[in-house]
């Protein structure tokens, strides 16, 4: 994991990948989105993608023993918002997650499995890198429509 940029000391959050941390992560994203002046739709989309990714890291990244960290950065560029989520957990490439079937009858519809599908539909781009020392960096890119 690299340093947070010197000019944005409050644009990152690092906390244990545990359910107790979810409120802090969501509050961070809400505050950063408001500060970045995102409109309602972009705020919703970024919040949704960030929640799904964080929930997954909390649930899946550290299957063996104590939870390691989850680090989330929020960057507002002129034309896009970039949310980066890093963990030091097991290798996970979201490209491997199959699109869930959304046409089964209600009896056969599985409960769950929608998270990654919603991430991909909410943001314009999802990048995945394996971190050199182990772990994953996901970058969610939400392009912003220019002011009318």
């Amino acid at each position: 994991m690299t340093d947070r940029p010197a000019d944005a000391p409050d644009a990152e959050i690092v906390c244990p990948a545990r359910p107790e941390s979810l409120a802090a992560l969501l509050a961070f994203v809400a505050e950063a989105s408001a500060r970045a002046g995102l409109d309602r739709d972009s705020t919703f989309a970024v919040r949704l993608a960030a929640e799904e990714v964080c929930t997954n890291v909390i649930a899946h990244a550290y299957p063996n023993g104590a939870a390691g960290p989850v680090r989330l950065r929020f960057r507002r560029d002129p034309a896009a918002v970039l949310v980066t989520v890093e963990d030091l957990g097991i290798p996970f490439d979201p490209a491997q997650v199959a699109r869930p079937a959304a046409d089964a009858a209600w009896e056969a519809r599985p409960i769950g499995g929608m998270g990654w599908h919603l991430v991909r539909e909410s943001v314009d781009e999802v990048r995945h890198e394996h971190l050199p020392g182990g772990g994953n960096r996901l970058t969610l890119v939400k392009r912003l429509s220019p002011d009318p």
């Binding site: 969501l26 919040r47 929930t55 519809r109 409960i111 769950g112």
Partner: protein, 112 residues
């Protein structure tokens, strides 16, 4: 998030307000299942004041839908706001869940 329940004939109108996310979906699911356990299997979710849902909310809705239908009832939604409706559509929930423009229509759909 806040949840309030109002009886309308044989139907429970569950008014949800706020955000349904990983922090609140368990409370929503508990409130909905409590209705069903108490015998109120005809449920209308009034989502007019719900500004957000994630997949955690979808889980609560689908779990409730299944339980209600297994008991001979149903969960139907009313007044779903655009952002939340998009999540329901993206996840294919609008093909299994009935969504009505307002609470009255949803209640009447049970043929009260």
């Amino acid at each position: 998030m806040e949840v309030n329940v109002e009886q309308r004939g044989g139907t429970s109108v569950v008014r949800i307000a706020g955000s349904v996310d990983g922090l609140t979906s368990d409370a929503l699911q508990a409130a909905l299942h409590q209705q069903i356990e108490a015998g109120a299997t005809r449920l209308v979710g009034d989502l007019s004041a719900v500004d957000y849902t994630s997949s955690a909310g979808l889980r609560a809705l689908l779990g409730t839908l299944k339980l209600a239908r297994q008991r001979g009832g149903d969960l139907r939604l009313a007044a779903v706001q655009p952002g939340v409706l998009r999540v329901l559509e993206l996840s294919g929930f609008t093909s299994i869940l009935k969504v009505f423009p307002d609470v009255d229509t949803a209640v009447e759909s049970f043929g009260a």
